[in-house]
Every structure is written in structure tokens, then in C-alpha cells.
Symmetry: D2
Subunit: 338 residues, 4 copies
């Protein structure tokens, strides 16, 4: 940590800062430059909260040097983490396709879609039984009834299943029925939920919030890992920008950045950012080209009559065509889409 | 709802749209202009989800006409809602000062601060027992022990108390100990939490998320009201922008906008956006001038040694000076600061 | 244009709106719904400025239906525009590589880089003689001396040349020396400059501003085309978001959106958004996969000693490796990188 | 400047950094911590461009310590600058009201408005003869004819006049006809224009761009001052955020921040951010309360028939009422509105 003092700081105030630092078991190194006096902090800066120093009236700014997280960073864990679930590997050379409807609506709908995807070779099946909806009047999901359908589909068709969990009270029941848990964009900083999914022994797909910074997103993963669950997969799903013509801006440029900072796998959900079917193929190709370890794509047998996300779920034949095209892009960057 | 069709839409597709609309019990009004064909939907558009129409390939755009919320809007409830709690009124001519430390740290700290504030005339006392922290390694609050201290302070000094609730599992215990509940910026769209605080008969202070739109914020209030709790107070706490020199941008211009859309009281928390003590006086004055119905300000007897928000809590004498200055601004706009 | 009136609008005010519309030679269509009264405007809505209606106190909102630009839109010109310059085609099946140093620094530097690029097959050579710099104390470019070097390189090595123009007073001299003009991100809405480059008969590469909306960007192209120059190539160069860890966010998801709205070619500059060498290869691959018609990449023989953009210019061997990899991605999406 | 090296940096690379620093005439101070090696740069860091160091592959990050501007900063000029023009003072205890129509439309319109404002006591009269318009088909201003009207109004009514200049070629003619020049939001980083207005001996009102950072805005002022013109007045006019319900977000929280960094006067234009008449009174009051040194407000005798900004120009009686209310707010914060 580097502390820049305001111009003409007194010796007494300088001593005060040094004192705070040393009481935390750290060393202070004072350096008086031509224009500014700065204090360098030597040791584990996690022991000293930035705000303590920033609150001093004679301090101009405080600049952390060390990465604040311990478990998610490449510094402590340089090699990629491979998250394995029933033979599928996230974070290795394979790029994993996750596909399925937005919502679990009925057993018939689920089996129709899952059977078609299974036939194409898709290994991981998505669908939601709990739905975070902006409006309280929108469809809120089938709940436990939906979880049972998801479990049945997974067992009968031998598919890896995943679903969203929103409420800490539901983590246990969700984990009993599916293979992977998903934390959505509105819950990236729902810390009580993160702690609960951290206690479960199933992989967690953690989406970014629409305006979480990369550091906040990584800290959310740290919350999960801090409880003992190391199988976290990050999922970019778009950010909020000033552009009115799209729902969100899919942040593809965050992928190389995040992969340089963390050893965790990073996948992309192009559908929620797009909000419409049209751009999904182009965004999916770009996700693979930019280095994502997987894709999550919404597919429905009858999107016009779906109970949610009607505009952004691909029809089954549209998905089949895209899946084939994506395999070529994966090859072109030396990877394999499964 | 106005539906704009893509150029050269076929009659068959146009009929399909009309059919969807009529099946929802609504009327469709087709209008062929010189360049575009548009379809107007007549009736309660809440019955027809925008995405259903947007998902049709021959539709260019869909523009809602009606406000999507029912309970928070001025259209159904033109007069200001006054939220009353133990003789304090939010939303009337009074501007209510809420002050107190960031965190409840100890009985001694709490009584020291509360006694000083009480003496100045402050009626509502803030403090947190549960803390949402970006890092899992930061102070997480005293929990139930803190709630008991808050309750004791409130009773002994006859102050209205409020505190944050983050986890739906804690709503009941929090509501037992304090007079008002607070939902923080990271939980604005934690829908399960909103539903729980909606079932309680205590007022709820609902902050905006750092990037929630006004519609999303109002919908969050709608979630609470939809469960039967009409005593919602909105609290602006800053938004995320591109500027690196401040933590957040306090969005004072949202106050007249929100007050034009909703009958609920709207207050301002200038501290979390500022992140530093310096700008808080100016931002507080502006909050009153722009039309806020209250202020929430962090005050601490010893901020340098506080366990959180060390840089942004005013010292007691600083607050006392500001409180006096703010009364003058309130007078200048024809209101009274209590 | 759809005009939504405030609740309980009087007949007199409704008549006033109709009167305004009809005086502009347009037709008004009044529709009284269950909750709102709306007025539809039939005819060319470009005749009626949105603000005129929005300024009326009894109007709630105004929603345009027609696209406001005339020349850039696909509606009037459905097929792709191919911009041709000395045998190179932008906007067709080819993806065009534009490469070269940030700044034109000296004849030697320019020939070293250009010769290496020419040998690899690059056809379009970039470099700047006028530099927009945030600080007045940074290197401002060689000016006319630089233009002469660019011209010499282009002639001797038979390369298409392009360079930035910032000042309307320099458009003529720039156009005399190079094959293509470039308008940078800070000048996207420098309307006097746009008008000048619109009078020239050389293609113009028009970057988005870091926070221009898509409509503003397309209108900037419309300014150029309105003066008679139809050879406009749009270039995405990153947008400003809330993330502090990257300079800008390369907005790859804007490419399919923009290509759906306009017939003009769209290319990507991944370097200025990245601000660092590291992510440029991944972003370049993604640019091709997402559908860009070209790339602009900064390449330098000695970036450590360059006079600008030292951190984001690729070294010559780095570029050579990337160029080969990009050709594979282009093939995978059925196109050819030249 | 503090340079943080990547983990396990070699001695050779460390020496290379030190060498670069020393060749610039600066001193390097290497400090090996428990986790990171950092290099402190001692001396005037303006001599060393951040990008040169950031471009080195073994460098993790570069953190400037000194403020990069020389003339605009409070560090070199701690006292407020007072900009004086014909007896009006910006930056002292007075808060200066600038009012007038968006566009100069005709002699009659201008005299009608100016006469009314003069009578109320307004001293500075605004209006535009050159209009930056998103669309090339919108009213572009009266040009020189407008300048002559502005000059006539100023002379006959003894008002200080100001107007926008957009094109470096027009700076001379504008400066001949008016008392103060205005640089608008789209030209904040039009460096050639800034240099031209820097050569003139009339005060310049410099608006922020809708997404310029504070540092970029201050650097724009530095460009002007670097040419010799020290009479720069900063004007906040709103920033671009994610909120679709307002045109821009008036950034009132930037005022205390900017005033802490620079000695220049800072005023607020609430009209362009609002885009509508409704919120202008509240925003104006807040501007004064937050510490602005002046206000710029659009006033028109017949806004419905204005040629631009029809929705956001106050009617004359509306302005008169507001002007009186604002004087009370100014008093409440110990200042005087003129």
C-alpha cells in the first residue's frame, strides 16, 4: 500500500500514520520527494483497511499494491483450475456448451428440448425453477416442482443439470436436485447467498452483476471459496452502459482480463445481454474467439409461447446450426467445443 | 403498448400479432403509415409481456405506454404518502434527519453517539448490525448482539431506530428489535428479501442499487408493497459512473424525477457515494435544496478507530455544525429540518 | 411518432397538439385508450422535432417510430456498401487488415515498419501525423512533415495510406497526401470537421466517441454523407464504462447491432480500448468472429521508444504471429482476411 | 510515480526500468517488499510518460502520484481565481446568473428576452449563433448574422454577452462580437479549438463532455491556459449514465470535487441535462447549495415556437419566480446571487 500525504503534512501527522501501520504489525517506509511525501507499507496489506488511512484529513490518496483476494487470484494459484462434473471439464482445452430453456415450464417441454440437445451432443442442460423478475407480477418459476423435473430429465437422459438459486433458504434443496448451482446477476453481491453456496459440494456458476467491477466479481467468488467450495465458474452476462438500443452490452473484453487475474474457468452467456435472438450467433462466435471456456445459450422448442425470455431463446434448429458453426471457430483457436 | 412492425411485414404475420393480443383479452388497433405499420394495444398492457412480441422476427420494436407498476405510481395514488413512525413523519413538509454510526460496534460507542445526537434534536438513529462487505475478510457486523444494543439505545433515549437487513432469514429478528428496516444497495433486487420485508409491519428504507434504473428501483418498492407493506421510503445513495476520482456519483437529479413518478417519500444518503468526509456538507445541502424528504448521515465519535467506513463518518462536532447549516437551507426552500 | 398525453389532458390541449402536427403537413391520429390518450403522427416525422412536442406541459412522452437518418440506414439502402480504395474493398467478403504505428515519427521508423508489413501482405498502412492528446504537454505529432513521409511510404511501397485529421483547417492538406482520412473518438461529434471531410472525395474512417450512442455515431456518418461523401467506414474503438482495470471496454456487441442498422462497413480498433498489448490478440480474434469488416492494429518496430501509445503497439513479430492466427478465424466464419 | 513490478521480475529487467527513469533525469528508488518489488520515481514525473513504463511486459501497474496538470491545479495556485468581465465577478462570493435563449433567432426575439432579464437584474446574457446539432437536418444557427444581433443587444442593454464557438476558424469573429466565449460539451476535447480560444483575451466557459473524466476536463482547461488565457470558467452540464428516463444526469456531486482540485470558477447548466422544464428549478437550487459559482439557464419568450431546445427553456415568468427563490437559497449558504 502506498499512502500519498497532502502537501505540507506535519511531522506529527506523519508519525501518526506510521504508528497506525506499525500497530497492525506492518512496516512503514517514509519517502520525502520533491513534491510529495509518501509512505510505503511493507507486509500483508490485508491487515490494514484502506478506509482507515483515507479517513485521515492529511492523507491525499491511498493506493493498494497487493491484490486483495487470496483464493481466486493467479498469484497464489498460477495454473488453471479445472472444474469437473460427471466427466465434463470446465477450464481445460474443451469449451463446454450449456444449453436449455430459460425456465422449466413443464415435464413435456423439458424433455422435448433436452432430448433434442442430447442428440446433438450437448452435455450440460440449463433451466430455471426460481426466476428473479423485475416485476412481482411476472412468472416466478415452478420452484420445487421444477427442481424435480430437472432432476428427472438429468437422470433419464444422462445430462449434467444446472439451475439458479436466489434465496439462501433454498440452497440445500436446489443442491439435492441438480448437479451445478447458478448465482445470477442480481445476486452477485448477495453475500448471505454466496456463503450458503460456498458450503455445498457442487460447482457454482457465478454471473457478474450488470455493474460489478472485476474486483467485486472476484471477491464474490472469494466469498464462495472462503467457505470451502473451490469449484467456481465465472460467467459474463453483460454490463449496463449508456446505449439505449441494446438491453446490455456483452463485455467480451472482460474475458482476457479476468483470465489473466484468476485461475477459475470463465464462460459467457450471450443471451441475456442481447435480449433478442438476432445477435446471439455473432456474440457466441466472438465469445469462443476471445477465449471463453464455455457458453450458456437459451434454447426453446416454442419460444413464442415460453413463459419468460421469449425474445432471446433460440429455436431448436437455429441452435443446431449455430452449434455446428461454433465448432469451427473453436477449432480455429485450437480448442474443442463439446 | 405500441408495436412497430418491420418494413414489408406480411398480412399473415400482422394477423398473428393481432391474434396474440386478442387472446390476452386486449384490443389491437392496426395503423398503416407511409413508412411503417404499427399496432396499438388497447387495455391493461400488464397482461401482455413485452418480450412475447419482441421475440417475433417481424417486429422491429415494442414501446410500452403505461407505467408497469401499480402501487408505487402517482397515477393511481396522486398524493404524497406520509410514512409515520413514533411521531416522525417522512414525506410531509418536514425533512427528517437520520444520523448515527456506520456500524454498531459496542454499547459504549452507541450510547456515546446517540446521546450526543439526541441532545442536538435528532430523532432517528441509524446503525448497522449486519454489514454487506465486498471482502469476506472485512468486519461483518455484530449480528443479534448488535440488534439488542440498538434496541436498548432506542428505548433508553427514546429514539426511532433503523438498521439494515440482508438475509431473508433475519427479517423477523431484525423487525423485533428495531423500528425501521433498511435494504441496502446490493439488495435492491434481492427479490426474496423484498418479499420478506413486505410481510413486516415496520417501515422499510429502500436504497437504489448502484446501477438500477428508476423503473427497477420502483419495481423493488412494488415488490414490498405487493406483500402488504405500504410504508416504503426510497433512499438515493449514489450511482456508478465512469469517474475514477469519486467512489460513486450522488444522483441528486434523480430526486425530482422520482418524486414526479411516485408518491413515496425519497431521502438521500450522501456518505456512501462520497466515500470521504470532505464533500458531505455540500452534498447534504444540495440534497435538501433538490427536494429530498430526509437525509441519512453517518456520524461517529471516533471515526479513525471505527470498524467500517472510517473515511466517511462525520465527527460529532462536524455533524453538529452541519445540522445547523442544513436547517437554514431547509428554511430557504420552505421546509423544516427535524 | 407516437405522442402519449398526460392523464386527463383537456380537449383544448389535444387540439393544440393536432394543430401543431397538421401545420407541419403531417396527419394526426388521436386514440383514446382505457388509461391514456395517444396521438399518432402519420407522414415523414423528420419534419417535426421531438422537443417541440416534449416541451408541452400536458405531454408525457414522445416516441419516434422512424429512423431519424436518411442516408446511413439500411431501410433506404438495404445492400452493403462496398468502399473501394486502390483495389482494397471494405464491406464485402474480405476482412481488411489496417496496420502501422501509432505516430509517424521519422522516415526511417515508417519505412522499417511499412516494409515489414508489406512483406507479410498487409495492404493498408496506418499512422498519425496529428495527435489528439489529453495533455497539452504530450507529443502532438509531426504535422505536414509527417504527411509527406506518409505519402512517400505509400508511393514507394504501394500501400494504401490513412491518417487522422482533427482540425477542419487541415482537411485539404491531409486529403492531398493520403488515401483515407480518419476521424478519431474525440471528434465524432465535431460537426464542422465532419462537414469538411464530407466535401472530400476520399474514404473516411469514422470512430465512435467513447460515449456516443449508436444513433449519434450514425448521425455523424450522416453529416459526412450529407455533404456528398458516401465512402464512410465506421470503426469501433471502445466505450467508457465503470471498470477501472481497463482503459476502455471494447464494444464488440455493437458490431452486429450497427451492421443491422447501416449498410456501411464496420471495422474494429482493439488497441485503444485495451491500452495494453496483452489482450489485443484475443480481442482481434473476437472482432473477426463477431462480424467486423476489418481491423486496425498498431504495430511498431520499437514500442518501448515510441513517442506515443508505447504500451499498446504490437512488436513486428507479435503482429506477424497474430496475423496468421486471425486468418484461421476469418476462414472459420467463411471470410478472408487480407 | 510508483511502478509495481510483476512477481519474480529479474534483476536485469529491474535495472532496465531504473535506466529509463534515470535517463529522463529522475531518480529511481527500488523497494523489495514481501510480495512485490516496487520502484518509486523521484522528481517531476511529467518528464516520464506513464505508457512508456506500462508497455514493459514485466510491469504490473503504474500509479501516478503528482497531479498531471500545472496551471489549473490548486497545488500551484491555492487561492480562487476571480474571472472579471465588465464588473461581473465569477469565483468570488457572488453567484452569477447567466440567462437567455438557447438560440439567437431574431433581433426581436433577442431584445424581448434580454429586456425582460435586464429588468429583473440579470447581468449576463446567453444565446447561441452556432449550434452543434446531432442531426445535420436540424437548425444550425444564424452564424455571423446572429453574432451581430448578440453584439447589438449587449451594447444597447449594457449586458455581458456570451456565445458558443465550435470551429477554430470562427474564434476570431466570435471574440470580436461577444464578451465571453463558450465551448460546448461535444468540443471539450477538440484540442485545436481549445488552442484557438486560448489565444483570445476573453473569458472562456468550458463545459465538460458527457463522459469526460474530471482529469480530462481539467486538462482541457490546461490547454486553454497553456496558450495564455487564464480566464477559464468550468461549467458542469450533465453526464451520460445508464438511466433512460432522463436525457443526462446532472452531476452535482462533481462540484465540490472540482472545486477542491482547481482554483477556477465552476458554474452549472441544469437545462441540458434535464432536457425538460420540470426539474430545472430543483436542480438550480441544488446547484447553488452544492457550491456552484454561477448558473446558466435557458429562458425564452415563446419556447413552443423556439427553433431549438423547445422543451427545456423556461418561460419568462417561470424564470422570474425561480430567480427570486434562488436568491433565498444563496443567502442560506452565505452567498449572494447576482
Amino acid at each position: 500500500m502506498i499512502i500519498v500525504m497532502k502537501k505540507d503534512v506535519s511531522q506529527k501527522n506523519l508519525d501518526h500514520v506510521v504508528d497506525i501501520i506499525e500497530k497492525k504489525g506492518l512496516q512503514a517506509h517514509v519517502s520525502k520527494g520533491t513534491e510529495k511525501t509518501i509512505v510505503g507499507v511493507i507486509g500483508d496489506e490485508a491487515r490494514l483497511e484502506k478506509e482507515i488511512i483515507l479517513g485521515l484529513d492529511f492523507v491525499e490518496k491511498v493506493m493498494p499494491i497487493q491484490k486483495p483476494y487470496k483464493r481466486v487470484g493467479r498469484e497464489v494459484h498460477p495454473d488453471n483450475t479445472i472444474v469437473k462434473v460427471k466427466g465434463v471439464e470446465f477450464g481445460g482445452n474443451d469449451i463446454v456448451m450449456i444449453a436449455g430453456p430459460c425456465s422449466c415450464e413443464s415435464e413435456e417441454q423439458m424433455f422435448t428440448i433436452a432430448t433434442a440437445l442430447k442428440k446433438m451432443g450437448v452435455k450440460v442442460f440449463r433451466s430455471s425453477a426460481y426466476k428473479p423478475r423485475t416485476s412481482p407480477y411476472a412468472f416466478q418459476g415452478l420452484g420445487v416442482k421444477g427442481l424435480k423435473i430437472i432432476q428427472k430429465v438429468g437422470r433419464e437422459l444422462d445430462l449434467v443439470t444446472e439451475t439458479e438459486v436466489m434465496d439462501p433458504r433454498n440452497v440445500e434443496v436446489v443442491a439435492k436436485h441438480v448437479d451445478m448451482l447458478r448465482v445470477g446477476a442480481r445476486n452477485t453481491q448477495n453475500f448471505d447467498l454466496l456463503k450458503e453456496v460456498g458450503k455445498v459440494d457442487k460447482p457454482v456458476i457465478l454471473k457478474n452483476g450488470v455493474s460489478t467491477t472485476v474486483d467485486e466479481w472476484l471477491f464474490a467468488a472469494e466469498y464462495i471459496m472462503n467457505e470451502g467450495n473451490n469449484n467456481v465458474i465465472l460467467c459474463e452476462r453483460g454490463i449496463r452502459t449508456f446505449e439505449p438500443l441494446t438491453r446490455n452490452t456483452l463485455n467480451l473484453s472482460v474475458i482476457p482480463l479476468v483470465k489473466s487475474l484468476t485461475h477459475l474457468p470463465v464462460i459467457v452467456d450471450p443471451c441475456h445481454a442481447a435480449g433478442k435472438r438476432g445477435p446471439i450467433p455473432a456474440l457466441s462466435k466472438a465469445s469462443i474467439a476471445v477465449g471463453a471456456d464455455g457458453l450458456m445459450i437459451e434454447v426453446h422448442n416454442d419460444p413464442e409461447n415460453a413463459l419468460s425470455d421469449q425474445a432471446q431463446q433460440l429455436r431448436i434448429p437455429e441452435f443446431e446450426k449455430l452449434y455446428a458453426e461454433l465448432k469451427l471457430v473453436a477449432q480455429a483457436v485450437g480448442r474443442k467445443l463439446v
